[in-house]
Amino acid sequence: MFLTKLALKNLTRHKKRTIITAFVISFGIFIFLVSDSLMVGMSDLTIDNSINLQTGHLQVMKEEYWENKDELPMNNLIEEDSNIINDIKNTVSSDNYTSRLLFGATINNGSEDYPINAIGIKPDDDQKVFDLKEYILEGEMFTGGQNVVIGKGLADLMGFNVGDYATLLFRTEEGTFNTIDAQLSGVIDAPHPEINEFHVYLPLQLAQDSLNIGNKVSKYLFRLGERDKSITAANNLNALFNDNGSNLHAYNWEQLSQELLAMIQQGNIENMIMLIIIIVLATVGVINTVILSALERLEEIGMMKALGLKVREIVYIFVIESTGIGIIGSFFGVLIGSIGVYFMSNYGLSVSSMTEGQSTFGIPIADKLYGGWEISTFIFIFFFGILVSILASILPAIWGAKKDPVKAIYHK
């Protein structure tokens, strides 16, 4: 206890040095917390955007379709069978169901064309699963007929206004060309660059008729109470499909967002770099402080050894001092980090101005980016700062404590 008291009093010997070393740790922790908060906010926002606007919680399609889904194939589509759909609804305990038909096309404004993803939807069902309607900027969502809704980015690019006519050119399953002339009923400005720039929504019936595929759709899509239920629901459905010998397969939100999650994972590397920076900063700061302290206190170390203190007791004094610096640094790091994260969470960071609405580091955010809170991160980094401080002090402390007492006393 006495040695602990002495160690803590030693922190007041060179207040400036203690403050600077603690500040270095605080700064590293601040940067980490803000960066982590942005990553958490970005992850939550992008996942929510993706679920709310593009994937839903659960999708059912043929496995063969899944394998080639990026090419928007016209084979391996599924019949919209009400019996199967009811079975699925019962299994996943959700009535929030819709179906979509996706196909590749080009949109033409009379003078230019541009490749897009055409998506046939049933607006009434679709809004049970997706929030598209909430992001209508101009006009309205169609209810049927020869209408389309497109993203703002695409509308700006092609010079379309609500009420204008657009032509979609595409190939049918048989490989023959066909077109749809449709009136632009609405423009969407969604927080998802892909939707704003590449998606054209049209009534499912119109798409099916134009493609001459009867009532086939690409997939069934469901919204569940929470996204965490998706994994169990998909497993249950796949068990059902196996029992029935069906060639359908259910995919949970994680599988549907694989690329997105990979990008988020990539973003987490940034946090690892921040952690490494903290380790380096704290280690250099603490080692420097302990070595300077040991050099300054050589005579004292010698005197302590003469009084009978053992090497481990002298190491203990230095380590406790470093622990004190770690606690001060971590405390203020977490404090200023909390302030930073508070501002990030409440006021956000406008990324649309940085990216001009195109994309955000490859992740589909086209709006303000808000920070997220994760208490576990605050607790982790607080103790991490202290731990790094302790570990960094051990070797220089041993170096100081092992000094020959005679040389230390007489400062040879």
Partner: protein, 236 residues
Amino acid sequence: MALLKLDDIKKIYHQGKIDVPAIRGISLDIEKGEFTTIFGPSGSGKTTLLNIIGCLDKPSSGDITYEGQKKLSELNNNELSDFRRYNLGFIFQGHNLIPVLTAFENVEFAIRIIDEISKKERRKKVLDILESVGLKGLENRKPNELSGGQKQRVAIARALVKNPKLVLADEPTANLDSETSEEVLDIMLKMNKKLGTTFIFSTHDPQVMRYARRLIEIRDGKVTNDDQGEDLDVPH
């Protein structure tokens, strides 16, 4: 039985390929309660001998027997630390006080690490010893608030507070004026008489030698003279 028995102590420093003998075979008996001064010119080996007696340095050969039983050469570093902790007190010319601790805490340090007595007893003991060295009322001052003589008194109090059997003092008055030196030496002599503590000094100050009851002269690492008694012939 002698408190300390030094048997043919030699100490050789190796400077590159050259061997520099600092102590060339010293054998001595130090009795309990002695007030002994080791003197000699600079470089004669006084401090080296004191450091070897205090287990801060190890002899190249020879041995020290403590109270007729314990051979110090047989102890490892931890055991030597314990030996110093429980049996020895040190006074250095630089006093080596801890600047962030008060006079009270600096003295308390020596018994806190032994931790054998209650807080109340410890407090009484520290205050008593501070009073004995004339520092009553100054116990809450930090070293930078004390004069050179007062600091050295704190160092004496720190060396004596645990009632060690042996106190080693390396040039304890080197940084003090003659008046303060006398005060400090008076205190040590008083403690020697009051507590029966054995004192060994190294010095080349005739003023210190006048207080000694035994004078050991060292030259070139050898004892050249060893006088005991009340009326010693103090060199000038």
